[in-house]
Structure formats: structure tokens, C-alpha cells
């Protein structure tokens, strides 16, 4: 056995309390900013028209396997430059259980809760704090470290917002980094 990490994505209509998506894509290998809230859809068939936004993506980290503790999470855009007219908005820092982002049904409307401007690449050490807990990304009890197994980050939600000046075609390559400590 070994500790296992996966990125998962919640999507669909918000449900439950605390809110979460009706569906989860486990072990997501693609993160598509697109004009569709279903992460399993092909992005090229759902392009974002300049002046509009992508659907928000409700990404989160999922830990299982063998470990003692997961702690000190950080999340940031760490490399690459987005073009003119593109703004990447992201989850606020989670420095208390009450800070965790509450799931809302993905849409192309600008998500006012995504208060972190992630457009410019920064060092991961300056990234937003990420908290952890058992049960799920939506659950209460988030803390800076956890021994729960399995464990989840808070939602690492992002949305690509555009203006009419955004160039047609693919965006530049950017790198999103999640850093955490494990022992």
C-alpha cells in the first residue's frame, strides 16, 4: 500500500447541506475551462466566447492509501502567462473552517465568491492556504492538518473570465500547483 493522491471534480446541481455537487469525477486527468459545467465533456466542443466566462470548476484533492498526516496545503498558479483579456479567478485562502468555499451549481456567471486573482503566476509559497478534513471537500471540520483517511482538501475552485479583447484560440500554457506536507 502507499498514500494515494487524486484530483477529483464535483459537478452538477448543488445538493445537500453542506452543499456539494450531485456528481463527482474521480481521478480527473483533465481540467477544462469550458462553456459547460460537466468536466467529462470535450472542451473543444464547448468553447468560451470572448467576453464570457468558463463554468467554474470545483476541483479538490483526495488522499487515501497510507500516511500519518497531511498538512500545510498551498494552491497557486505558478507558471505561464495568460493572454490579454483573460482573468483567472480562484478560491479564497482557507485559514479557518468557515472560510471553505461552499459549492454552488457551476455556471458561466462570474462567481463572486472566487475572490483570489490567480491571473499572474506566483511562487507556491505565496499561494492560498488549503485546509483538509475527512468526509469530503464540502464537509465541516476543515483544519490545516488532518490524520483522517481518506482526506480531502477544501474546494480548489477556479473560473476563467474573459473580456471581448481575448484572443481567439487556445490559451497559453499555465501551471497550477498544489503543495502539501506528508509524513
Amino acid at each position: 500500500m502507499a498514500a494515494t493522491f487524486a484530483f477529483d471534480i464535483d459537478y452538477g446541481t448543488q445538493t445537500g447541506s453542506p452543499t456539494r455537487g450531485t456528481s463527482t469525477e474521480a481521478g480527473a486527468t483533465e481540467v477544462n475551462w469550458q462553456n459547460n459545467g460537466d468536466p467529462t465533456q470535450v472542451y473543444s466542443s464547448n468553447p468560451i466566447t470572448a467576453g464570457n466566462n468558463s463554468y467554474d470548476i470545483w476541483l479538490f484533492g483526495h488522499f487515501s492509501g497510507t500516511y500519518n498526516q497531511i498538512s500545510a496545503g498551498l494552491f497557486a498558479h505558478t507558471a505561464g502567462t495568460l493572454g490579454t483579456g483573460l482573468t483567472l479567478k480562484g478560491t479564497p485562502a482557507c485559514t479557518g473552517d468557515g472560510d471553505r468555499l461552499l459549492y454552488t451549481t457551476p455556471s458561466a456567471t462570474a462567481n463572486a465568491n472566487l475572490t483570489t486573482d490567480m491571473t499572474t503566476a506566483i511562487a507556491i509559497g505565496s499561494g492560498v492556504a488549503v485546509f483538509f478534513s475527512g468526509t469530503g471537500p464540502y464537509s465541516t471540520g476543515k483544519a490545516s492538518s488532518t490524520t483522517a483517511n481518506p482526506a480531502y482538501t477544501n474546494y480548489l475552485t477556479t473560473q476563467l473570465q474573459t473580456t471581448g479583447s481575448a484572443a481567439a484560440g487556445d490559451t497559453a500554457t499555465v501551471t497550477l500547483t498544489l503543495q502539501y506536507n506528508e509524513n
Binding site: 498514500a3 493522491f5 490559451t171 500547483t177 502539501y180
Partner: protein
């Protein structure tokens, strides 16, 4: 292996050994699995459990590839790299009011390269290994000293 992401297994270049004052030594293997709770816990869990009944006095990282080592002595606060001492609490201007407690963790990164909304590559790796100690000074302030290796 310490971690798996999308079938990529992390390679543990530095393995630890934990030495207790009753002679017990716990060695981390490349599988990094607890002997107490092998389905959910890593070897470090065993160290913390054993420490409840015996004093941990030395913690060593050993590089499997180069044979290099670094240690932290929890009796003296001394760090050694390849048996050369370079730091101890004797160098500090404070008196610890509690014993030194071990710090050990691996800084891990998952880097997703996104191109036009598509993840084109994922780097998943241990960036640094940290060992050290923490204690409290006379005013109750937490004092930490760590070193890291790549």
C-alpha cells in the same frame, strides 16, 4: 513508494530510521507502510505510537542513492550531515523548558500544466524532506529548527 498519483508512484530517495533509548530502531522501507495499521498508515505512524512508551533520541535520513545521511539528535538538538555537526541548541540563546519534539515531513507538489483548459502534463514529486525539532522557551513560545534535503 510514498505516494501514487494517476498511477505515478513517488520514489522515496531519503528513508528514515528512528532510534529509541531502549534500543528499538524503526526503519522506513520503500513501501512506507505501518506495521500497526498497514492499510491506512505510514511508517511514521509507528514512530509516533512507539514514542508513547519510549524516548526517541535520534532520527536519521539516509539517501539510498548516495549513502549520505543527516540526523537530528533530540537530546542535544544537534544536527549532523554525514557525521559533521553544524548546529545544536547550545548555539541558541534560550533554555528549552520542554524536551525536544521531532519534526519530520515531506514537501510534496502536484503541478498540473493546463493548456487551453486541458491538462497536458502532471508533475508529482517530493520537493524536499524536512527534519528538525520544536520546543518551547521560557515564555512559552514555540521554537522550531529544521533542515531540508532534496
Amino acid at each position: 513508494m510514498s505516494s501514487i498519483h494517476n498511477n505515478k508512484k513517488l520514489y522515496l530517495k531519503w528513508l528514515f530510521s528512528a532510534y529509541f533509548d531502549n534500543g528499538k530502531v524503526i526503519h522506513q522501507t520503500s513501501r512506507d507502510t505501518s506495521s500497526i495499521d498497514p492499510d491506512k498508515r505510514s511508517t511514521f505512524f509507528d514512530v509516533l505510537e512507539y514514542e508513547k512508551n519510549a524516548k526517541l533520541y535520534l532520527f536519521e535520513l539516509h539517501n539510498r542513492e548516495t549513502g549520505e545521511s543527516c540526523t537530528v539528535n533530540l537530546n542535544t538538538g544537534e544536527f549532523k550531515i554525514n557525521n559533521s555537526s553544524y548546529f545544536s541548541i547550545a548555539d541558541q540563546n534560550f533554555i528549552p523548558c520542554n524536551s525536544l519534539r521531532l519534526i519530520y515531513f515531506r514537501e510534496t507538489k502536484v503541478e498540473s500544466t493546463v493548456n487551453s483548459g486541458i491538462v497536458t502534463d502532471e508533475n508529482f514529486y517530493i520537493n524536499r524532506y524536512f527534519i528538525g525539532w520544536q520546543t518551547n522557551d521560557q515564555n512559552g513560545n514555540n521554537i522550531q529548527k529544521t533542515i531540508s534535503v532534496k
